[in-house]
């Protein structure tokens, strides 16, 4: 199968979208951005290839009348199995790195004692893997850093004292070890992990007899289908650093505009709130950008603002929105600067204000800033599409809906669960159309 790749190297996350020749989405992949851009874009791409394979499996099953019944259960099982394998593989590397940095440090603790504690923690993390990837598990994040980090810190707190090691030492070690883990690629090729997952899933899925044989056959066929990349286009904050030639790099503004247009063809106005910048884009009926505005390099008003606040509150970014939605009033936040807002938050908490209400204020603050940008780019026109990571945050969405209604009247607001992939989708479309043109 021929595929076209779009990679969006964002400041916080790197996304890849694969299109087939007809322009349908074959796969999507995401990873957190990290210091090695090349690794980030490779991982995102491989992740997308993995989902592409899974999709192929699903299609093969659905196409087969005998197997169609199990497709709904099989693919998620496959995915979970794969993720667990992948997580374990990364844990192995984390263990290695933890040991290595533990040995290097000149600490008062005896290195063996430290190693023992570290092993205790990682062993336990390994056992907990199923909690993240069980059938009913609600996964807190897509990223190893977050999943492992959460477990590690909790366990470190538990084991530090009995193990005679300082918590600070342990947390420092994690911060150090996670970097090389993220910045290198596993020795186990992704294809092999996928293969293992497929085998395991076939084993665990339970069909017997003819169905089992059919399943095995279908899976084998998918495994041997080659996925060939015909062309690729890169975009996003880090696009200049991608190992792509210049003509394969597109401005993220254009990609977001086009991506939003393809997802919601009647889109006129696009708002993208990403990790480190916010863009307001107006597009015409062909998805072509007619004007745009973006903010300055200040975290106030971007996703990182919320990320920072989440850190301050010891929460995950995905927890912020739901909490803020429980607010009874909306506190007015006076600080513009993110760091000062963090301080204001602490101050207000200590004065006894409700966490939910303050959070509501913080969400409103960031959306207000986006509203100005929107106004500057030409206002909110019908239809309006909200993309970027912050579109995943229900409180931000609610605040936006309210402010748009107040200022522009009724507008259709499009939000897709896949909106974080908008830029990458646009890039993939550019890749596809470039290769069509060349042909």
């Amino acid at each position: 199968m021929n595929i076209f790749v779009g990679v969006d190297l964002g400041s916080t996350t790197t996304k890849a979208v694969l299109l087939d020749e007809r322009g349908t989405i074959a796969g999507r992949g995401i990873t957190n951005s990290r210091s090695n851009y090349e690794v980030a874009s490779r991982v995102a791409r491989e992740e997308a290839l993995v989902t592409a394979r899974f999709n192929l499996v699903r299609n093969a099953l659905v196409a087969d009348s005998e197997l169609a019944g199990i497709a709904d259960g099989f693919v998620p099982l496959l995915e979970r199995t794969f993720r667990r394998e992948q997580y374990r593989d990364q844990l192995r590397r984390l263990r290695g790195e933890l040991h290595r940095s533990g040995d290097r440090g000149r600490r008062s603790q005896s290195p063996t004692r430290l190693r023992e504690v570290l092993d205790l923690i990682v062993d336990e993390m390994d056992e907990r893997a199923d909690r993240h990837f069980g059938a009913l598990a609600v996964r807190k994040s897509d990223f190893f850093r977050d999943l492992a980090g959460g477990d590690y810190m909790a366990l470190a707190e538990r084991f530090a004292e009995p193990g005679g090691v300082e918590f600070e030492t342990l947390s420092g070690l994690f911060d150090r070890a996670i970097l090389p883990v993220e910045n290198s690629v596993s020795e186990t090729p992704m294809e092999e992990l996928v293969g293992r997952a497929l085998d395991a899933a076939v084993g665990a899925s339970g069909p017997r007899g003819g169905a089992a044989a059919g399943l095995e056959l279908a899976v084998a066929r998918v495994r041997s289908t080659p996925l060939e990349e015909l062309s690729s286009v890169g975009t996003g904050y880090g696009r200049q650093r991608l190992p792509f030639p210049k003509e394969q790099i597109r401005s993220e503004i254009l990609c977001h505009g086009l991506g939003a247009h393809v997802m919601f063809p009647a889109t006129k106005t696009v708002l993208d709130i990403g990790g480190q910048d916010t863009k307001a884009i107006q597009v015409d009926e062909n998805g072509i950008v007619t004007s745009f505005q973006m903010n300055d390099r200040c975290a106030a008003g971007c996703g990182r603002y919320l990320g920072y606040i989440a850190d301050e509150m010891n929460l995950g970014v995905h927890e912020l929105g739901p909490l803020a939605q429980q607010a009874t009033t909306c506190v007015k936040i006076n600080s513009t600067c993110t760091v000062f807002a963090g301080a204001e938050l602490r101050e207000r908490l200590s004065l006894g204000q409700r966490r939910e209400d303050i959070l509501a204020g913080l969400h409103r603050a960031i959306v207000l800033r986006a509203m100005s940008l929107l106004a500057r780019s030409g206002g909110v026109r019908e239809e309006f599409t909200f993309t970027g990571g912050v579109a995943r945050n229900p409180a931000a969405v609610a605040a936006l809906e309210q402010l748009v209604a107040e200022n522009y009247g009724e507008r259709t607001i499009n939000i897709s669960p896949d909106s974080i992939y908008t830029g990458a989708l646009g890039a993939a479309l550019f890749a596809l159309s470039a290769s069509r043109k060349a042909a």
Partner: protein, 288 residues
């Protein structure tokens, strides 16, 4: 007050990252003496609780009873110190604390978690001029903390690492929050942690030297107070910047610099106590 005219005074400096408390003995004559110092990081804890817990502990450390305290003064964000007798403003106390720690100090640079302030003072710690950084946390202590976290080094390591840097990386002023990506960028270009830290120190130092310049600090003894005084890398970078800017000031830190605010508050408290006592005595004399 004891019969011998000595006072015990307490200063509580409520910052945005930590609460600093100091207990000082002020004899009727002779030098004032620090009895106890204490820092309590706030770190997502209830601020009121931190303050209230710290107080008895620091008194115990100083070996005095609550009833013996003549004056408790707050400074910084002192509203929550509801057991205080008076409040003094941050610059007033840092200036006083600085002169107490280093009597020759004529300029004070207070660098805390969110703000930096430069003050020029006289021998009595009177403030002759000052400048503060604006409402952007770029280049603040919190910023440095964030950077350290992204680099995976602890605050104590920051200074020594930076001092050992060979070819510091030029860093423009960057957002304290987005610094993460900038730092990641630098790491991705293979720049050593030490060089990144030194670069950041130099960029911060540049701003601070500018503040000092703006208040007209000349050939003087500059004392760094506040949390970042503990960071040898910053002081070092400041010296380099001052030299480059052909400024002949000398940059100093003091091991107790972080307590300058708390000490200053305590000492001003003692001063006020005596003024008030004198007034009361006078009033009594007038009555009788």
């Amino acid at each position: 007050m004891n019969g011998d005219g000595q006072l015990f005074v307490v200063g509580v400096d409520v910052g945005s990252s930590a609460v600093k408390t100091a207990v000082v003995r002020m004899p009727a004559e002779g030098a004032d003496e620090i009895l106890a110092l204490r820092t309590d990081r706030i770190r997502r804890r209830d601020l009121r609780k931190v303050i209230h817990e710290a107080y008895p502990l620091v008194l115990a450390e100083a070996g005095i009873e609550p009833g013996e305290v003549a004056y408790t003064a707050s400074t910084g964000e002192g509203e929550l110190v509801d057991f205080r007798r008076g409040h003094f403003y941050g610059m007033t106390t840092h200036a006083r604390g600085a002169v107490f720690l280093e009597p020759q100090a004529r300029s004070v640079l207070d660098v805390g978690a969110l703000h930096a302030r430069a003050m020029r003072i006289d021998a009595r710690s009177k403030i002759l001029g000052y400048r503060m950084t604006s409402q952007c946390a770029s280049g603040s202590g919190q910023f440095l903390e964030n950077v350290a976290r992204y680099l995976g080094v602890s605050l104590d390591e920051v200074g020594p690492l930076s001092c050992g840097a060979r070819s510091p990386e030029q860093v423009s002023s960057i957002c304290a929050v987005l610094a993460e990506t900038d730092v990641i960028n630098m790491v991705s270009r293979g720049i050593a942690t030490a060089d990144i830290l030194k670069g950041i120190h130099l960029s911060m130092a540049g701003r601070y030297v500018k503040l000092l310049r703006a208040i007209g600090a000349g050939e003087e003894h500059v004392l760094i107070t506040g949390g970042l005084a503990a960071d040898a890398g910053l002081a070092n970078a400041m010296r380099e910047c001052a030299e480059q800017g052909e400024m002949s000031m000398t940059i100093h830190t003091h091991p107790d610099s972080i307590y300058a605010g708390a000490l200053g508050a305590a000492l001003w408290g003692g001063f006020r106590h005596r003024v008030l006592a004198r007034r009361a005595a006078q009033a009594r004399r007038e009555v009788s």
